[in-house]
């Protein structure tokens, strides 16, 4: 009887120590699910999902606080990818957050810019170059098209223009599936 109790206690202590050691030694830093979700999001950092950036939205999805259909720049592709990752059914984009639009970049009309630096402070990816009372300009290759610079501009000199498609970025269109029967 005593031997059995002792043996079980000893085992419990050994496994307890083992588990305790493993918990410290193999601790996973950060939230791997949020990382995976973050990798799918388009990183526009536009905040249209009502979270301050893509990472916070990813964390909210991982914690079950947010739906997967709140990312307008990602659109259908992102929703499908998220549904795939999380084992859920894809749902249409939430109307409340906006709609999927063609990709754009911001352009500053440089003759109007007064050099107030407000847009520089708003840009989430440091894609605007300029200094106080100096003309600002947008580094086109870095711009994510988040539109966050539009609002603070006091002279409305920033426009969103669609990205020009060249032969290197052109995509074959989805084949026309209208057939003799379905054609109006």
């Amino acid at each position: 009887m005593l031997a059995a109790v002792l043996a079980l206690t000893a085992l419990a202590i050994i496994f307890g120590l083992l588990l305790g050691f493993a918990a410290v030694r193999f601790k996973v830093e950060g939230d791997p699910l949020a990382d995976q979700i973050d990798a799918i999001l388009p990183q526009t950092q536009c905040g249209q999902c009502s979270y301050p950036g893509c990472r916070p939205y990813a964390e909210a999805i991982a914690n079950g606080e947010a739906e997967i259909n709140r990312c307008p720049p990602g659109g259908e592709t992102t929703i499908i990818a998220l549904a795939d990752l999380l084992g859920r059914e894809p749902i249409p984009l939430d109307d409340e957050v906006g709609e999927e639009k063609p990709k754009t970049v911001a352009i500053i009309r440089e003759d109007i810019c007064i050099g107030c630096t407000l847009c520089i402070q708003a840009c989430p990816v440091d894609a605007i170059l300029g200094a106080a009372k100096q003309m600002h300009t947008i580094i086109e290759s870095e711009c994510t098209g988040c539109e966050l610079c539009i609002e603070p501009c006091p002279v409305d000199c920033i426009d969103m223009v669609p990205i020009k498609v060249d032969i290197f970025h052109w995509k074959w269109p989805y084949p026309d599936e209208t057939t003799a029967e379905t054609r109006p």
Partner: protein, 556 residues
């Protein structure tokens, strides 16, 4: 010796229609008034212009240099004045424009000074040969337009076989056929140069058996050469690099691999002729043979066309278009694509211009649902499952499509050709491929944006903490200001004291004095002492007086 031939799986036998354009010999196209030379006529990076608007250029003069490793130079294809460097429509399925150099020709077609190199190619270094080929702007003329000099690099691999591809398996096209018939010696000369560059053990020239005249001409030209001309049975798409390798050698090039990995290099016969012109004659690539054919053309033929010539100009030379022409196709009916305008110029990869009539083109209204007959899988020369790929592409399940080796598809069109439901299968694959590339680009851009955003956040955090630290320091300084001042005064006083007491601080002008001076000092000191004595005695007297007075006062 009869060589044992192998076969690849699948393939189709579309009607050939090659005879209609081979009735006349190759003739030079008349010079167009304006030539439009796109900077992007090949696979890889666009070339960079090295001329300016207003410059007068001669034929063969380099007007744009290769930019990067996978790129090719562009040369003026006739003499004239550069009138614009601007965006013009180029031959591309999108119908989009890209930067072109526009030359107004002067009609003289004057060549730049050129001539054969001083040394024969056999004495040239391989890298020197490749440099000439690179700067001559030579790309694969079979249709893909891959810069040829890259394929002639055999470093690190032993090349067993050089194959010259004279198969030309697509219907209607006969430009290689005519070249082989009329200029076999150029092809052989080019083959010898390429063999020298690659140190290839054997050279094979493959010709399909629907081109007996071309075969005969080559055999005749090769009589004294160690080059084998092989007649292969006609089967589309035998002209595909990997398919031709399989047929001639039985070797299979691995998925995602290159022929070099199995010790083989394949070059088009027209490319060989271009290499001969560049090395032996010093002429860069400025023109090519183009088949003008199709039911919509009155007199189908082969023309030697300077690059940049508008297609309309060529069609006019072939008797013009019939009224019922439905579309103009660049390339063959299987792999070519429709042009959006007839003003589009001929480029290095333009092997044929076909005018298709309404009757030639299957109207898209005939598309019907897939009946899973499996005919597409039977004819696929790459042994893919076209039907599965089509389902995945349709459902936008691009990762599944990639698992089914979408990128091994050579877009030969066999599956679409045999499909009883007229499903545009290749269109689905092209759609899926470009979508996947776009997604990869977007992923790259997103990762870049994430990195920049994270950097910005950490920078803002750092600036905040730095500011807080600065503020804290300022505050501490304000508090300890008064005590600091006291301490400073104390310290200054201590310093002065220390200076006074330090040994070297007494006056230095009393050393080495003369006798007279010492005497003077002594007398002064004596006088001082005397004065001090007098003063002291007077003080004592005064004290005594004061003491006496006090005693007297007390008594009173």
């Amino acid at each position: 010796m009869i060589r044992k031939l192998f076969s690849f799986k699948g393939g189709v036998h579309p009607p050939q229609f090659k005879d209609i354009s081979t009735t006349q010999p190759i003739r030079p196209a008349t010079l167009a008034q304006q030539l439009v030379l796109p900077l992007h006529q090949h696979i890889g990076e666009s070339a960079t212009p090295i001329v300016e608007v207003g410059d007068y250029v001669l034929r063969g003069q380099k007007i744009a240099r290769a930019q990067g490793y996978v790129s090719a130079a562009v040369h003026a294809s006739s003499s004239g004045t550069i009138v614009a460097i601007e965006e013009r429509p180029i031959p591309h399925p999108s119908g989009l424009s890209a930067t072109c150099i526009v030359i107004d020709t002067d009609g003289k077609d004057r060549w730049i000074e050129h001539g054969p190199a001083e040394t024969s190619y056999t004495e040239m270094d391989v890298s020197q040969l490749r440099n000439i080929i690179r700067s001559s702007g030579i790309v694969g003329l079979g249709g893909a337009g891959f810069p040829s000099y890259i394929k002639l690099n055999s470093t690190g691999a032993i090349i067993d076989t050089l194959i010259l591809n004279g198969v030309e398996c697509e219907p209607y096209i006969s430009c290689d056929d005519m070249l082989m018939r009329e200029r076999p010696e150029q092809i052989i000369a080019g083959a010898k140069i390429m063999r020298h560059a690659l140190h290839a053990k054997q050279v094979l020239i493959a010709v399909e058996d629907n081109k007996p005249k071309a075969h005969a001409a080559l055999v005749d030209a090769c009589r004294n050469e160690d080059i084998e001309v092989i007649l292969v049975p006609t089967l589309y798409p035998q002209g595909g690099e990997k398919q031709l390798i399989k047929v001639l050698t039985g070797k299979e090039v691995p998925s995602n691999g290159l022929p070099v990995q199995v010790g083989i290099v394949v070059q088009n016969v027209a490319t060989a002729a271009a290499v001969h012109n560049a090395i032996n004659l010093g002429k860069p690539l400025t023109s090519r043979i183009v088949t003008i054919s199709g039911e919509g053309v009155a007199e189908p033929c082969n023309l030697e066309v300077p690059f940049g010539t508008p297609m309309r100009h060529l069609l006019d030379q072939c008797g013009g278009l019939r009224n019922d022409v439905n579309r103009i196709i660049m390339g063959g009916p299987m792999m070519g694509f429709a042009m959006h305008s007839t003003e589009i110029p001929v480029i290095k990869t333009t092997n044929a211009i076909l005018a298709a009539t309404q009757a030639n083109v299957a109207p898209p209204s005939d598309i019907m649902p897939c009946i899973r007959c499996g005919a597409c899988a039977d004819v696929c020369p790459v042994e893919l499952l076209p039907q599965q790929l089509q389902w995945f592409a349709r459902a936008k399940e691009f990762d599944r499509a990639q698992e089914y080796n979408l990128f091994d598809c050579i877009e030969c069109g066999c599956c679409s050709y045999v499909c009883p439901s007229n499903i545009p299968l290749v269109h689905y694959y092209r759609y899926a491929k470009t979508e996947i590339w776009a997604q990869e680009r977007e992923k790259e851009k997103a990762d870049h944006a994430r990195q920049r955003h994270e950097f910005r956040l950490s920078r803002i955090e750092r600036e905040k903490s730095e500011k807080a630290a600065r503020l804290a320091m300022k505050k501490a300084a304000a508090q300890g200001a008064s005590s600091n001042k006291q301490a400073a005064i104390q310290a200054a006083m201590a310093r002065a004291k220390a200076r006074k007491n330090s040994p070297g601080s007494e006056p230095k002008n009393t050393d080495n004095l003369t006798e007279a001076q010492q005497q003077q000092i002594k007398s002064t000191d004596d006088m001082r002492a005397k004065a001090q004595q007098i003063a002291e005695s007077r003080r004592a007297q005064a004290q005594q007086m004061m003491a006496g007075k006090q005693a007297k006062d007390e008594k009173e």
